[in-house]
Symmetry: C2
Subunit: 102 residues, 2 copies
Amino acid sequence: MNKIDVALICKALSDSNRLEIVQMLSDGEKCGCKLLERFEITQPTLSYHMKTLVESGLVNDRKEGKWHYYSLNTEHFVQFKKFIEALGCENSAGETDGCCRC
Amino acid sequence: MNKIDVALICKALSDSNRLEIVQMLSDGEKCGCKLLERFEITQPTLSYHMKTLVESGLVNDRKEGKWHYYSLNTEHFVQFKKFIEALGCENSAGETDGCCRC
DNA sequence: TAAATATATAGATGATTATCAATGTGAGGG
DNA sequence: CCCTCACATTGATAATCATCTATATATTTA
C-alpha cells in the first residue's frame, strides 16, 4: 500500500458520517437501508458516501436481490492500519535495536 | 479523541504531500525551508499545508529566530492511532473474552 | 402486469480545497 | 539603515466535495 492509496483512504475517513458508517460496519455487514435509518441524510447522499468508501477500497459491496450489503474490506483495512502505525515512527538505518521510539 | 477530531486529522492526511511531510517529521523536527526543498511546490503552498497540519493537532510549530521548526505532536498522534486501531474492531458487550476479531 | 422498495444517476448549488503570483512581516547581517 | 531570508497573508482560480431534488433502474410482491 502506497502513499496515494493511504491518502485516498484518509480522504474517505475525513467525513464524520463516513467515519460513523465504518464504525457501524465493524459490527458486521449491513444493508444500505439499515445504514440510512441512522443518519439525517437523504438516500442519494448515502449512496454517494458509500461509493466514496467502496472506491477507497475500505468497504465491500455485495448485491443480493434488491439490497446492497456493505462490509469492511478487512485485508485493505489491516494494511491501512499498518501504514498508519508505522507513520510517525523513525525507521532510520542508524537504529541499533530495530525499534522505533514510538 | 472524538469522531470530529479524527475526521480532521484524516483530512489533514488525505493529501499525499502532507502525508510525506508527516513521514519526514517522524525523523525529528525540521524547519520549513528544509521541507520546502523536498517538494515541487511554492512556499505559500507549503505554508498552507503546514497550517492544515498544525490545525489538525498533528504537528507542532516552534519558532526560533526567523525559522519555524515543525515536529509531530506525539501525544495527539498516539491517540489518533489508537482510534484507528480500534476502528473496524467489534467492541460489542456480547464478547466474552473482551477481545475483538481483528 | 402494476405497485412498491432499494438503490443509482443526473443536474444543480454553495462550500471547501489546492495551488499560484504578489505582497506583507519580522528577524539578522553587513 | 537597507538588504536578504524565512515565513505568512491576500486574492484569484479551477477543481472537488457534500448535499439536495428529481428521475431512472432493478427487483420483489400483490
